[in-house]
Symmetry: C2
Subunit: 318 residues, 2 copies
């Protein structure tokens, strides 16, 4: 059942022992909204703790400032930014059927919780959490402001992505007013790359190939490159967006060789080609501008399959 | 003489034939504030035109939508975002002594105009221009909102840099409300790189060297690389910030070989080393975190000179 913000506020104020759950492979928004809610509940002398199936990434440690992990039997379980049961992760999946409240902004939310508060047009769960905490009449401390700003900034690519709205900027302004340490947070989140990430980028860029008069740009990342850069999965994620950002390129392709063989394909398109339609040809899917699929073949064959498929799609557009 | 915003509003409302001047090598803030003011004055049936010593960059053409260049004898000359007379450029320097009003946010403004309205804590001149146009009681059209948003976004690196304030976000929120086409503008400004820029980045990254246990990262861009990438000056600018963004690096150095020989050096530091002090050793200067100098020598000697200087500075810190 979906409920209103007023009902969320009422239920949170009524609960005294709250378990807060984030999604697996935690990002700035799920962690930011979880620790903001933790601090808000603690300021009302309630018991609260945050759980995640995976280890918190090092760069988000500042969100945990002042956090004290406390064991207690929860009487209310809240999942934040968790769109589906499978996102609980193996260590927390036993909670999945018992979630009392889910607070989330993903349109795809599976409504698995007893109550769900969903605002699909919110740029981030943190944007919703700001309103909830304000309506609970809780003072926004610097620590809460840091948590909420982190979710806003990460989910919008620092106010660059199209999910940014008037409300996002107004919320950010309020959080600056409450003392969010945005200068430091922006530097950590948006201006720091690991040495292996930089090396990975260089290798990926050196593999760029252009096809069909630069209509297509293709990057192929092999296992050999990943080993050479000593890169992990999270360091590969940002690379997928590179080919599409090149001026004039309509279709950006990133191929990533899997350890067990075959290639994971990411397609990003600028404005004309439906990426999900293209990926559907290889049993993949996604959105119009970003989609993915898997092709279980070698480098040369995979490229040829993709380029042939694209050629036939270009023909239907022209 | 410095004047208040109320006086600026009064003077602009009193003027009927306004020449608006931008700085040379125009950026999003000088162009955004100029064309916002142009549109504001035109809505009051005044004559106005914008002049710049250099050609407007292609990617800012959208700011000129609806602009009609009109010749007339100006009775009021306004310079926007122009901090010093030398920034008028050779084609407009004849106006430098006759500027009636300068609207600017650079603390270094030389106060060369008859009247100057300076707000040093404003993130961009466009942030000031928004308040001025509002106080003139002029309706913010979509076109004005596009112009003002462009200046805000470019001068703050899309709300990432430390000059971003609460007011910046609040102004952006207002401009979204007035219909700014931010999704498209962000894509043009922040998610599009030329093919030569991408090639330049790859070549620059392939030259990275680390020294003193990764305390220093150094990129050396040679004329040969610039030719190979077919890159122009503006495509080289972004590269200077790369070495300092690498995790753990305190001193990021970018060396750029000049066509006439020698190396232009950009130094960025994270938090401990004073970049301007380091550059002063080579007759250069700048700020604590970003400075530059020129070393008239070959690649090997230039590197050695810089690294020796850094070694002695590191010793004084420890």
């Amino acid at each position: 059942m979906t409920i209103t913000k007023a009902e969320v506020v009422k239920r949170l104020l009524q609960s005294d022992n709250v378990l807060i759950i984030t999604h697996k492979s935690p990002d700035g928004d799920t962690l930011g909204s979880a620790f903001a809610l933790y601090n808000a509940l603690k300021s009302l002398q309630k018991k609260a703790r945050v759980e995640c199936s995976d280890i918190f990434p090092q760069r988000f440690q500042y969100l945990m400032e002042g956090y004290e992990h406390q064991e207690f039997k929860p009487d209310y379980i809240v999942a934040v930014d968790v769109a589906a049961i499978q996102l609980f992760g193996s260590n927390l999946e036993h909670y999945a059927q018992d979630v009392d409240l889910c607070i989330d902004h993903h349109p795809s939310n599976e409504l698995y919780a007893k109550d769900t508060y969903l605002v699909a047009k919110a740029s981030a769960t943190c944007e919703m959490m700001y309103d909830i905490i304000c309506d609970m009449n809780i003072a926004i401390t610097k620590q809460i402001a840091d948590c909420l700003y982190t979710g806003l900034a990460t989910d919008t690519g620092c106010f660059r992505f199209s999910n940014t709205t008037e409300k996002t900027h107004r919320t950010a302004a309020d959080l600056f007013g409450f003392g969010a340490n945005y200068e430091w947070i922006n530097r950590i989140l948006f201006e720091t790359k690991s040495k292996s990430r930089v090396r990975m980028e260089q290798l990926a860029l050196s593999s760029i190939e252009y096809y069909y008069s630069d209509y297509v740009a293709l990057i192929a990342i092999t296992q050999k490159m990943i080993e050479e850069a000593n890169a992990d999965e999270s360091e590969l994620d940002g690379v997928a967006s590179i080919p599409r950002t090149i001026e004039g390129v309509e279709i950006g392709i990133t191929m990533r060789e899997k350890a067990e063989g075959g290639y994971k394909i990411s397609i990003r398109t600028a404005s004309k080609v439906d990426a999900s339609q293209l990926c559907a040809l290889f049993n993949g899917g996604g959105h119009k501008r970003a989609a993915g699929c898997f092709i279980d073949s070698d480098l040369k064959t995979t490229k040829r399959l993709l380029l042939d498929a694209i050629q036939s799609i270009i023909k239907t557009i022209e």
